[in-house]
Amino acid sequence: MKQLFAEIFIWWHGQTMGTRLFTALNGKFVGEDDAGNKYYVSKKDPKKRWVTYNGPAEASAIQAGWHGWMHGRTDVPPTEQNYQAKAWEKPHHENLTGTAAAYRPKGSLLEDGKRPNVTGDYDAWSPE
């Protein structure tokens, strides 16, 4: 229900009503990734594939396993591959550039952390 209201009132963030309608009529559900993004393929044309994002539309949120399928590099979706993640693999997350969580180097004015010591730094005494 919440999703439905979001599609009506803040449609520019993600899936629109049009997409919902199109998916219901033409789409065949293929699978869902760990982040909750749903992947569909057209009933008529198996080369036509699309995703509805869980949350704002952000292309880099497509996980590595689904990326190949989405871009037509492979026709086997990860749901049929039975891939086991390695211990050293970090969970996928989208590109954060442009958001508040973007990476900032140490010493950046936008990062409240302290910059590392440089030549000429000293510790001042204070009475407390």
Binding site: T119, G120, D121, Y122, D123, A124, W125, S126, P127
Partner: protein, 698 residues
């Protein structure tokens, strides 16, 4: 003298010279790793090979062969040595190739790179490729303390560090075990070295096997600005080179001065620099409603001026601390004279030394190098190892060279040389003066006896007695002859002799430090100026208005009502006089932090607020005024020659001997001044010396 021909050039050299010295005399450079002028000859690196004509048909190690070992030619021609023949070059290339078999090629990550003997000499004698397919030898790194970092794979077994620690420092904690490829330099027990001269092995190491731990990976030698300066950690006035980058002191290295520190410096001198950047006073503070608050310079001066104007001259005092330069003491004395204040003191510990008794009565008259000429030494109430480690190394050098008899009155500590212990108190000193002990005869029979009196022994109630007794021993044993003055006061602070020279002592009717303490506690002292004086009892000055001029937030700053931030010795050009009366000047290497100003400039600005401005506007004018009043300050680096009559006048055996123990005032070598107390490295060393931390590296 012997004649010798070096590369065809005939020269005359003393016959005890080694071939290497003769070659250097002739201007031929001889590469070397193990040979060092101030250490015994080991002859194990073989880099200094030369060709000797008429000798055996093999190259000779020039550091270990003496000129008198060579035979003259059949018709009495001078023996001939060659340093530039193809045979010599090939021999040295062979040695270098052997050294490089196992030396890692890690110059890019080595702290020694850029000032490495092996790197430099490989430019001349190295070959461009290796003939070895085998793996290089790897050696485990050793833990030898918090100051010296070891990367033992780089070691080329020159044994300079072993010879230094055994010969100069007097500790047998470093050695070479194993032989051939298995040879390793080690402490064996993986313990920290216990010498306060251990940092010198870093300079001695010709490669990067022993490097400075606090300096590791912080800078490269070619990016540093080198400033020649003077150390103020003790009264020796060691000659140092301050290496800085931008506004930061990166490290401190020794400079050669035969009259002072040869080429050694103590660990406190070398590793103090991290104290220069912590706990710094970088803005003026004024106490408002019982709390120190940051203020502008004008507000701070106004606060001082208000406090001074509220009171009268007899209720004002000034005390100069251990690190004050001559210029600022002169300036502060100038202000005090203008205000009519008589209460001045530059002896926070309260010693009995007074400039009115003559300069000879408070300096080490024979000079630090003169210790080597002494043929009997009496040490009174001093632990030279803690008070002036470099002086202790000189005494040890004299003791090793000639076995000079040494006796000690005072603490019975491990001084790294053998001595006769005469007792702890003043009465033992009186016994020497009266000739009741055997050592009195040794002193009397000696041609150049030396009596070293620690500044600590001259403090307290018995201070005057000790001075009188020591003077009478000097007089009685003939230490005060025309060409030898064996009376020696060993100070423990860099500022002291300069302060006495400039007359920073109570003027007529004035109070000394102890008097000021009492007056302040009784409410008779309203304003006190502390020029970097931290080692006094601040409790007494609780109710007084304390003006602290200094560089670090230490005891003095915490007790202050107004703080005027000054700078340290690396940040100003100031004159210091060492314990031997040698006048030396520091040079500014970096600028002070924040709003801190040079101390004399602070006092000059303050004088304008207090009334009449001091009659100088820059350092040169100040020095002009100083030299006009005290001409000897102009003779920089001139050895002191003082009239021994001053000491003879003091020689008087007191009627009643007070019972007082004579001991060194320094409990902790590493934490003697505000800069050292701000240094994390010194704190670690101090903890280690006290037995607090006793763990290996891993």
């Amino acid at each position: 003298m012997a004649n010798i021909k070096v590369d065809g050039q005939e020269i005359e050299v003393p016959d005890h010279y080694t071939l290497m010295q003769a070659c250097e005399e002739a201007g031929a450079e001889v590469p070397r790793f193990c040979y060092h002028e101030r250490l015994s000859v080991a002859g194990n690196c073989r880099m200094c090979l030369v060709e000797v004509k008429g000798g055996p048909p093999k190259p000779a190690a020039s550091c270990a062969m003496s000129v008198r070992d060579l035979r003259p030619g059949p018709n009495g021609e001078a023996p001939e040595v060659f340093t530039n023949t193809p045979m010599v070059k090939k021999a040295r290339e062979g040695v270098m190739e052997f050294l490089l078999i196992n030396h890692p090629l890690d110059c890019p990550i080595c702290d020694q790179a850029g000032e490495c003997d092996l790197q430099d000499q490989a430019m001349a004698y190295g070959v461009d490729s290796s003939r070895y397919q085998e793996n290089k030898r790897a050696v485990e790194d050793k833990y030898i303390g918090p100051l010296v970092k070891t990367i033992m794979t780089r070691c080329i077994h020159c044994t300079r560090c072993v010879r230094f620690t055994t010969e100069v420092a007097g500790i047998s904690e470093l050695g070479l075990i194993g032989r051939g490829e298995d040879a390793e330099i080690t402490t064996y027990l993986e313990q920290a070295m216990t010498s306060e001269l251990q940092g010198n092995v870093i300079d001695l190491c010709p490669v990067g096997a022993l490097t400075s731990k606090p300096y590791e990976f912080t800078a490269r030698p070619w990016e540093l600005n080198k400033t020649e300066s003077i150390d103020v950690m003790d009264a020796v006035g060691s000659n140092i080179r301050v290496d800085s980058r931008g506004r930061e002191v990166m490290r401190i290295m020794p400079r050669i001065n035969e009259a002072v520190n040869e080429e050694w410096i103590s660990d406190k001198t070398r590793f103090i620099w991290d104290g220069l950047k912590s706990q710094r006073l970088d803005k003026p503070y004024v106490k408002k409603s019982k709390k120190l608050q940051a203020a502008s310079w004008n507000d701070a001066f106004a606060a001082v001026s208000r406090a001074v104007k509220k009171t009268s001259a007899d209720k004002i005092g000034a005390i100069a601390g251990d690190l004050a330069g001559v210029e600022e003491m002169f300036a502060l004395k100038g202000i005090m004279e203008q205000l009519g204040v008589n209460n001045l003191d530059c002896r926070p510990a309260g010693s009995a030394l007074e400039p009115s008794k003559g300069r000879a009565s408070y300096i080490l008259n024979a000079g630090i190098a003169g210790i080597e000429d002494a043929d009997a030494i009496l040490i009174v109430g001093s632990n030279p190892r803690k008070e002036a480690a470099i002086v202790n190394a000189r005494i040890r050098k004299a003791w090793r060279a000639s076995g000079v008899p040494i006796a000690v009155v005072g603490d019975q500590d491990d001084l790294k040389f053998d001595y006769e212990y005469l007792g702890k108190g003043v009465e033992s000193l009186a016994a020497v003066a009266a000739g009741d002990v055997e050592f009195a005869k040794t002193l009397a029979n000696a041609e150049r006896p030396m009596i070293i009196v620690g500044e600590g022994a001259l403090t307290g109630t018995a201070g005057k007695d000790v001075l009188a007794l020591a003077s009478s021993i000097a007089k009685g044993s003939g230490a005060l002859s025309a060409d030898w003055n064996g009376f020696a006061v060993l100070h423990n602070a860099a500022a002291r002799v300069g302060g006495l020279d400039v007359g920073f002592v109570p003027a007529k009717g004035g109070l000394d430090r102890a008097g000021m303490d009492k007056a302040a506690a009784g409410g008779d002292l309203d304003v006190v100026f502390l020029l970097g004086a931290d080692d006094i009892d601040m409790e007494a000055y609780k109710d007084a208005f304390v003006v602290y001029i200094g560089s670090h937030g230490d005891v003095g700053a915490h007790a202050a009502d107004v703080i005027l931030p000054g700078v340290t010795y690396t940040e100003k050009s100031a004159t210091y006089v060492n314990t031997a009366g040698l006048v030396q000047q520091t040079t500014r290497a970096v600028f002070g932090p924040g709003d801190a100003k040079e101390d004399w400039a602070i006092l000059r600005a303050l004088s304008a607020h207090l009334g009449e401005a001091l009659p100088y506007d820059n350092l040169n004018q100040l020095r002009g005024a100083l030299y006009a009043q005290h001409p000897h300050f102009a003779d920089i680096e001139a050895p002191a020659q003082e009239d021994a009559k001053a000491i003879e006048k003091l020689a008087k055996v007191p009627a009643k001997i007070k019972k007082a123990a004579l001991s060194t005032p320094i409990n902790d070598f590493y934490l003697t001044n505000p800069i050292a107390r701000a240094s994390a490295v010194m704190a670690e060393c101090s903890q280690l010396a006290a037995g607090g931390v006793n763990e290996a590296a891993e």
